[in-house]
């Protein structure tokens, strides 16, 4: 029982830290209606930048977080430029950046694919030492604080004139352009901001798990989409914006708890990505299937007879 509790704590902590990444995915996927595949690369980028700075350069772990976020911002901006200035479809632009980040991440790590942070102090290990908490509890506290800051920031930002213009761009590009908004700018900004959060999340997870890995972002986009979907199912779709943002992080926590449970039940860890993909696929398929079924059911050959 103790083992279960500990693994659940760990799962909740991971869920919150990954939740920052999911908030980034939420910006592009839900607000801007862009499927941005940069995420897998920029998550690992954040982790790698953080690991190298903390281990090799002895940089303060908090500053390393900001550096990782900045790296994510740049990665997002590259995708944004490819998509807006050179009009490459968003999915392809994201894939190009993601692929190139694989090589870049290896270069950042000096050719190694994994860099442990075991002996170095991180924000999270520092906190757990100072307060006598477990690694998971310290991760949870750091995660909750960062998540609250990010949610408050996003809530404010998407209420501003620029933020409103960004939301409207995801809604109806023709309209906002006709109302004098440079939609290339808003898209670029959203991709940049989104990947900045993803990079930050990668760095937090790196500090929490005590290693940076070039493969740590693989499948991040699917985890992000699954978490968004889980959050929406749980919290409904017609809630105020701050609830939507909160539900995104909650979705991420639930995703990691489910993962911990099924792994404990003996599922092969390698099958987890398949399960995530199935969750997302189902979430995207069900609304379509339901509406098709309704249409079919409502059809009657003789026309409407009753009513």
């Amino acid at each position: 029982m103790n083992g279960l509790l500990a693994s659940l704590q760990g799962a909740v902590a991971q869920g919150i830290l990954w939740g920052i990444m999911v908030l980034g995915v939420y910006i592009t996927f839900r607000l801007m209606d862009i499927a941005d595949l940069t995420v897998d690369g920029s998550f690992a980028l954040g982790a790698c930048v953080c690991a190298v700075l903390v281990v090799n350069k002895q940089v303060n772990p908090v500053i390393a977080l900001f550096a990782a976020m900045a790296a994510g911002l740049v990665a997002g901006a590259v995708t944004g430029l490819l998509h807006t200035i050179f009009e490459i479809p968003a999915i392809l632009a994201g894939i190009l950046t993601q692929i190139s980040l694989w090589s870049i991440n290896l270069r950042i790590m000096g050719g190694k694919s994994n860099l442990p942070l075991l002996k170095t102090e991180t924000l999270i290990s520092g906190l757990s030492d100072a307060l006598g908490l477990t690694q998971a509890q310290a991760s949870m506290i750091v995660g909750i604080i960062v998540a609250i800051i990010v949610i408050v920031f996003l809530y404010w930002f998407f209420g501003t004139e620029i933020g409103s213009a960004m939301r409207a761009t995801g809604n109806n590009e023709d309209m906002v352009r006709a109302l004098g908004v440079n939609t290339k700018m808003t898209k670029l900004l959203s991709l940049t901001l989104s990947n900045g959060l993803v990079g930050l999340s990668g760095a937090l997870v790196c500090q929490s798990q005590k290693y940076g890995d070039v493969g740590s972002g693989t499948g991040a986009i699917v985890i992000g989409l699954a978490a968004i979907v889980i959050g929406e199912v749980l919290m409904g779709r017609l809630t105020p914006f701050y609830w939507k943002l909160t539900s995104v992080v909650a979705g991420s926590v639930i995703y990691f708890v489910i993962r911990a449970l099924v792994l404990r039940m003996g599922m092969n860890a390698n099958d987890m990505k398949l399960l995530s993909a199935i969750i997302v696929a189902l979430a995207l398929c069900i609304p379509v299937a339901v509406s098709k079924y309704r249409l079919k059911k409502e059809y009657s050959e003789g026309g409407e007879e009753e009513c």
Partner: protein, 265 residues
Amino acid sequence: MLTISNVKKTFNKGTVNEKKALNGINLHLDEGDFVTIIGGNGAGKSTMLNMIAGVYPIDSGKIVIDGINISREPEYKRAKYIGRVFQDPMRGTAANMEIQENLAMAFRRGRIRGLGWGIKSSEKDYYREALAQLGLGLQTRMTSKVGLLSGGQRQALTLLMATLQKPRLLLLDEHTAALDPKTAKKVLELTEKIVDEQNLTAMMVTHNMKDAIQIGNRLIMMHEGRIIYDVSGEEKKKLQVEDLLERFETASGEEFANDRMMLGQ
């Protein structure tokens, strides 16, 4: 006010689908002109409005508003001068955003957007009044999502949004064509009211010859990317639908004659 000189546009240049959409357009609008535009399919009516709005770049020529050459400005920069209502009611508004949020977006047309609140509480009274002017009861539904409105309501809202910040030029691209006759009439009345009250300069594409004659002070007819008929003032008031049809047939007839001549050679 608006001067268009020798504007040309060819789509898909150098391919089998090459289409000369605008064939040297020359047009001058005075302050307060309300021009209706008629013409057959593919005559270049919508293309002309799109060129003025900057949806696509023009191949050659010049578009000048208030002495400012906007020929090469991107669409979002021209929005400073131009208010637009599209044919499709879905295109003019953001469905997932509130009515007041849409208005707030429109209120900021032509202004630099910063990090101030996207909608200030002080603006809301103004929006409420403006919505009341439409006479559709929308002032009580300011926080409803626009997606819940009917096509006619959305089109009326778009019209309000296009004129919330007085535009130098209002472009109406068959903005009543997708509505049922009753709603179309209502939106058209609103259009006339708003244009009249604000003394706007406006261009309206329509397929309804009667509307084209009754509304505005000037009428132009387009054919194959050219303006072939331009009438204003008293002469326009006296026009009959038959006159326009005749004009139209003459124009296409000449084209027909030309074709025959070419074949004959």
